[in-house]
């Protein structure tokens, strides 16, 4: 009975390994590309990192439809904010908008865990949100089914003063650990590198 229940849960819930960290000049958001329904790999080219504006991005785990809808809605609010205020929305404010949208659907939630990251006047920052919209500031974080494995590697290797190359190397190491032991994560990774200069996208086979 318990196994039946778990099978149903996994059938509805694709896995993921998603991580984010602050490095000296910006933030790095990474997610692998596998989308699964139960034991079936639905897609090897899923995309779980998103740009919200030209200075804010997000990396998600959970239902792909829900993350896409959530990101589009936060993106619309960020654009409206810029038109209203004549300045770019701060990373914290964008994360707060997302938190409000998630909490507003408390009784019928969007099934996503999200790491929002970006660079604004205050410098680089990341914020971690759960399904109901709790909002936690962090320096590095991992979410999804592979999080337990990835976060151990981050914990051991992270330092505040890392430059981009060191941060990327650490992210790759954490990803490889998670992907080799979490069957619901794999098929390479997408990187989002956000600095004062803007957003840069990269992909890796791993």
């Amino acid at each position: 009975m318990v196994e039946q229940h778990q099978q149903n849960r996994y059938y509805l819930m694709p896995g993921a390994t998603t991580l984010g960290m602050v490095f000296s000049e910006g933030v790095l958001l990474v997610s692998e590309k596998r989308v699964t329904y139960g034991y079936f790999v639905t897609s090897k080219a899923g995309r779980k990192v998103f740009t919200i504006t030209d200075h804010i991005g997000a990396a998600c785990a959970g239902l792909v439809a829900d993350m896409q809808v959530l990101i589009r809605e936060v993106g619309a609010y960020a654009n409206l904010f810029k038109l209203d205020n004549g300045r770019r929305i701060s990373v914290k404010a964008a994360a707060k908008v997302m938190s409000n949208l998630l909490f507003g659907r408390r009784l019928f939630p969007l099934i996503t865990q999200t790491i929002v990251g970006g660079v604004d006047e205050e410098g680089p920052s990341i914020w971690v949100l759960d399904v109901l919209g709790s909002l936690l500031p962090d320096k590095y974080a991992a979410v999804g089914t592979g999080a337990e494995i990835a976060v151990g590697v981050l914990e051991e290797g992270y330092s505040d003063e890392m430059g981009l190359e060191k941060a990327k190397a650490l992210a790759v190491r954490a990803m490889k650990s998670a992907l080799s032991r979490d069957s619901m994560s794999g098929n390479g990774a997408d990187f989002l590198i956000i600095t004062r200069e803007g957003v840069q996208e990269e992909s890796m086979k791993l």
Binding site: D84, N85, R87, S90, K92, K96, V97, E121
Partner: protein
């Protein structure tokens, strides 16, 4: 031509334009504002100063009571002129708007956006049937991410940014003094004195009892504070 020239039937409903393209009810509301007791707002590097003439209706009135200067949020203040009770409705809206911005973005509201929102409400009352315009101008001053900001909104819903602004019956006297003596590099203390002096002169020129209220938002604390009456009084006496 005076604005009272032959309005005829075109001032019965606010939504009706006169043939020469005017909305008389809105212009009358502006007249209410221009006859109200003077208010002013000044920006300096060290903060914002808001001031108001507050005439006592009776000797028995509690002189500590302030009805033209309001805290809107910790970082924003407002001075109002015109119909005081109309003003309170808009101040309530401004306060709610500021709190709602904090809920939505976890940030204090920009003064410009606040002025725009209140302007939007005022505009509704120049276009809907069965209502009258707000007989109020509000000066919003505050410290936000873009610096020390000062805005004035009138009954038509227009809002503009200022370095120094005054509205009300004494505006010509006050504006004369401000044009001659206002400088952006005055410190907060000097700016406060200039505000008090201008209002004092405006009251003197109308032979009215001198009663001035001052509130300030120093850039250092970003916190609205009303100046104690005895402190204002001291300055009123020393300033010629």
């Amino acid at each position: 031509m005076s604005i009272f020239a032959a309005p005829g039937a075109y001032d019965r409903a606010i939504t009706v334009f006169s043939p020469d393209g005017r909305l008389f009810q809105v212009e009358y509301a502006l007249e209410t504002v221009n006859r109200g007791a003077t208010i002013l707002g000044l920006v300096c590097r060290e903060g914002i100063v808001l001031g108001a003439e507050e005439k006592l209706e009776s000797k028995l009135q509690d002189s500590a009571f302030t009805w033209k200067l309001f805290p809107v949020d910790s970082h924003v203040g407002a001075a109002v002129v015109g119909l005081g009770s109309d003003a309170r409705i808009l101040i309530d809206q401004a306060r709610v708007t500021c709190q709602s911005n904090r809920l939505m973005y976890d940030e204090p509201m920009d003064v410009e956006v606040l002025s725009k929102r209140i302007g939007d409400i005022k505009q509704l009352y120049t276009q809907h049937a069965g209502v009258r315009p707000f007989g109020v101008s509000i000066i919003f001053g505050g410290i936000d991410k873009s610096g020390n900001r000062l805005f004035s909104t009138d009954p038509s819903g227009t809002y503009r940014a200022y370095k120094a602004v005054t509205v009300g019956v004494g505006r010509e006297t006050v504006e004369g003094i401000l044009k001659a003596e206002y400088r952006e590099d005055l410190n907060l203390d000097e700016t406060t004195n200039l505000a008090i002096k201008s209002l004092k002169k405006a009251l003197q020129s109308r032979d009215e009892q001198i009663r001035v209220k001052i509130s300030r938002i120093p850039a250092a604390t970003k916190t609205y504070q009303i100046m104690p009456d005895d402190e204002v009084e001291k300055r009123v006496k020393t300033l010629e």
